[in-house]
Structure formats: C-alpha cells, structure tokens
Amino acid sequence: MLISLRDVSAGYGSKTVVDCISFDIAPGEFCALLGLNGSGKTTLLKAVCGLLPVTKGMCLVNGADVSRLNERKRARHISYIPQRFSAMQGVAVTDVVMMGLNARLGAMEFPSAELKTLAFNAMETMGIGSLAGEDFSKLSEGQRQMAVLARTLVQDAPVMLMDEPDSALDFLNRHGIMAWFRRNIHAEGKAGLVTLHDPNLALAYCDRLILLRNGKIVSDMRLYRAGKDEIRECLSAVYGEITLIEHCGRYIVLLN
C-alpha cells in the first residue's frame, strides 16, 4: 500500500476537523476525495502529506510514518498541489518548475543539464513551454496551475496529492490533465488522491471515490465494482437529490 491511514484525526488547534479516518490506497489507484465545502478534504490532504500534525492515529506513506520524516524525505515520497499558490512575484516560470527538483537534489547540488531538460519537457507536456521565461505572478490563474502541475511532474513522487488541481482550468485543460493524471498513475503504479468539486470529473477519471461529510467518511467505493444504484446512493449522501444518467458507458450526475 502506498498510502495507509489508520484512525487519523487532525485539525487546527483544539478543533478537530477530520476524525478517525482510515483507508488504504494501492499503487496504480487514482482516488477522488469528494465532499462539500468545509467537509475536511484539504485538512485530510495536509495531514497525509505531513503539513498538519496528525493528532490521533497514524499515517503511513510507502510504509513510513509521515510524522517521523523530515520535509526532504517526505517530498521524495509525496508531491502535493495546494489549492492556492504563493505569489512568487517576479519569479520566472522555469524557476518555479525547477523547484520541483529540490527533493531530488543534494543540499549543495544544482540541477544538471539532464534534470533541466526534464523540467523543460514537463513544461512542454503541460503546454506552457512558451511561457518559460515569463513572470509566474503575471500568468493567468489557469496558466499558473499548469506551471505548478509541471513542477509536480518534475518532483515525480510515488504519491500524488492534489487539492482541486482543476479549479482554474478551462474545459479542455481540465479534462486533459485529469486524463493525464489517470494515465500517469496507472502506468507508473503511483497512488493519486485528488479533491474535486465536480463529481462528474471524479466519475469519469478516478478509480475510486471517498466521500467526506463533517470530517468523517460516509462512503468509500471502487467504481469498477459499484453498480448504478450504489453510486447514486453514495453520492446523494453528500449531494442530496441527484439523478445519475448513463451515457456511452459513463455516468453523469445531475442535481435535481
């Protein structure tokens, strides 16, 4: 198992936001974390990647207890795309993407020509090759998101955590990157955990849905095993009255 959560609780100060969460994610599994605003998705992601201390339980990544690893070691196992990025005023897009190499370099080491090529290729993959020299803070929100995705690609960690990586993307980019994540995770046996607001996107690209409500898991289903009724029932536990339409072997959710 790449990610194993055992009765994890976490929160801010004395306030517990997510409570007693347990699940495992296997290599090659792309898992969506769904829930309404304030349900604890971001808190859970931050706890998994060690940015927020786990108050109870244990979080294992690649077999190692996250709370015992320092930032460098964690970053070799886990990449994390936050919801909001730092301003990085005046920093060139290339430099932002190169920061993804940090965990792979020694403390006194600088990127080799080979790693630099890797970074440029990542930018090409994300379709921002032409923006390499631009000021990151002057890009559009969506372009910035693509730059940070390129940085994650460069970091190349076996566990990928993503907090609404599609929030600022256009329709095509949104589907493009979700398809790319799915391919990458399946092909390289990584574990992906992504928070999304659109259940349709999760149904179309993810292997598994974990639904959160008030900091607790209300359902955890593997889509290849689940039937139409089960999916509708699980989703309506969070989203209320919904209709699930089947179209060309895919499900589409509509709010009633």
């Binding site: 931050k46 940015l51 930032e71 730092s86 005046g90 920061m99």
Partner: protein, 326 residues
C-alpha cells in the same frame, strides 16, 4: 538582461579605479600602474596605496556588495519590499554594541568593532531563537521579534546617549551611526574579511534554498525544503555578511534597501541573477559614495550622506522610467 550586468560591471570597475586615485594624497593612474607592476616609485605612494587606499576601496566594495546581496535576500524571504538588513535587528544590535564600547571601554577601534559585531550577531540570534520558540512560526515572527529587539536596542542606546559625555562619547556615537570608511586599514580589512566571506559565500551556496524560502511555508515544505532550518541558516549568513562589515565602518544606510529595488527594476525577475546584480549595484553606490565622502570637501563626511544622495536618483530614474513606459 546581460547588458545590465555588463554596464554595471564596467561601472564598478571604473569606480574601483577612481576610488584608488581620489583622496588627500592623490595617486594618478600611472602611479597605480607603476605600483602594481613593481616599478620604481616613492615609498610613500606605495605605503598609501597598500595600507590605506586599496584596503579602503576593497572595503567599500565589500560593504556595498554585502548590503546589496543581503538586502535582496531579506526582501525575498520576507516577501516584503520594505525589508532591509535591519529588519531582524542587525544594525540596531551593531549600533548598541558600538555605543556600549564607546561608553565603557573608551574609543578603541578594535573593541568598538568587536563589540558591534558581537551585539549584531547576538541581536539576530535572539530574534531567531524567539521566533523558533514562538508559536506563530514563519517569516512574520522574525519581523515581529526583529521590531521588538530593535526597539530594545534603540532605547538602551538612548539611555547611553543621555548619560554620555556630549563632547567625546555622544559625538562618537552619532558619527558611528553615520558610517565612514575613513579609518579602514589593511589590518582592519583582514580582520573582517574572513567573516564577510563566510557569510557571502554561504548566501551564494544556498541560492537555491533562498528561492524556496520565497514561497509560503507550506508550499516550500511540500517541495522538501526544511524551512525552519534553512531560514535560520540563510538569515544567519545574511546577518554575518552585514554585521562583519558595518561593525568596522559604522552604519551605512539605504544601500540595502535601494540596490535590490534598482536591480529588480532593471531585470524584472526575482532570481539569483537579481541578487548578484543587486550586490553589484550596492558595490557601485558604495564606491562612488566613498569617493564623494573623502573628495567633496577638505574634511571627510560620513558615508551615509552620499549613499542616500546617490542612491535616491538611481532608484528614481528607474522608477520613473517604468512609470512612463507602463
């Protein structure tokens, strides 16, 4: 972008040569050439050159480059365009150390410098220790504790000034706070150079980490930056760079704030290249300022006067140029 480096580099070289020539005992370019090639020349010229003029010029270069580099580092990691080397108490600590030495140990230059250096590093160490212990964490707590330590230093200085002998001690304190390269000699340069070089080289080596400190803490941590550790190391190196030189020259104002802005307005990017250019501009301002300080009238004037009067137009030219364009 390259043109700015070439032009600034040439100007620094020019100012360096000018600074070797100007002074109460003028040396012509030909004299300097003869000294350097070891040709026959008066022992006085040789003495002036090696014990006074060259050390003083190298010191000006170091002060300017150190303040310029450290200034850019502070602006980047505090994400604040107003951040300057004093934000974590370096200069206030140095000022207090010098004032204490003046009042309690007479005006021995060596003791003043040692005390200024010691107190500058102590002030920074206190700020670092308090922010690491404190609960806010992050760069903001450095700023908050920096303000506190700075305020404490300044009020102790006020006490010292109030009770100081106005003729000798108070005057010495005031002059120290305005900075001067007038009494720099080869041995003084040799005393501070190792500390300066360690700090400066440390910042250059940690350049990749400095860029990571420009991010929000959570983001840089998720990229594998051990934020608390590297922030302490980087600030320590920056403080060492600044404290080593200003403990010998006294306070030099405005360069640490001005040089990074001028460099930023030139190359419009935040990167290691920006930090290098900022160091070069700082060196240029200091070299030219020091020429003014010793050449503008019969007496030496404090170097902080020309750093401001030269620094302001440099900054204004670029700010206004950008305003008119955009």
């Amino acid at each position: 972008m390259r043109k700015y480096f070439v032009i600034t580099g040439l100007l620094v070289a020019l100012a360096f040569v000018l600074s070797l020539r100007v002074g109460r005992y003028p040396l012509s370019a030909r004299d300097i050439l003869m000294i350097l090639t070891g040709s026959e020349i008066s022992g006085l010229s040789r003495g002036v050159f090696f014990t006074l003029r060259l050390p003083r010029t190298v010191m000006a270069l170091m002060v300017g480059a150190g303040l310029g580099l450290a200034g850019s580092v502070f602006q980047l990691i505090f994400k604040n365009p107003l951040a300057s080397p004093d934000i974590i108490g370096v200069s206030s600590g140095a000022n207090l150390g010098a004032a204490l030495a003046i009042v309690f140990f007479g005006q021995s230059a060596a003791l003043m410098a040692a005390s200024a250096f010691g107190f500058a590093m102590l002030a920074v160490a206190l700020v670092a220790a308090l922010s690491r212990l404190g609960r806010f964490g992050g760069a903001v707590s450095y700023i908050l504790f920096g303000i506190i330590i700075k305020a404490v230093c300044e009020s102790v200085i006020m006490i010292l000034k109030f009770f100081a002998d106005p003729e000798r001690e108070l005057a010495a304190m005031e002059f120290w706070a305005m900075g001067s390269l007038g009494n720099i000699t080869a041995s003084k340069l040799a005393a501070v150079a190792p500390f300066f070089l360690i700090g400066f080289a440390g910042l250059v080596i940690m350049r990749r980490h400095i860029m990571l400190l420009g991010l929000e803490d959570d983001e840089s941590r998720s990229l594998g930056a051990r934020v608390k550790l590297i922030r302490t190391l980087v600030l320590g190196a920056a403080a060492l760079t600044v404290a080593s030189v200003i403990s010998m020259t006294g306070l030099v104002v405005f360069v640490g704030l001005n040089a990074p802005h001028a460099a930023r307005l030139m190359i419009k990017r935040v990167s290691f290249a920006w930090m290098v250019l900022s160091a070069m501009i700082g060196a240029l301002i200091l070299l030219v300022s020091d020429c003014f300080a010793r050449g503008i009238s019969g007496v030496e004037i404090p170097v902080s006067i020309p750093t401001t009067f030269i620094g302001v137009p440099v900054l204004l030219v670029f700010m206004l140029k950008r305003q008119f364009r955009g």
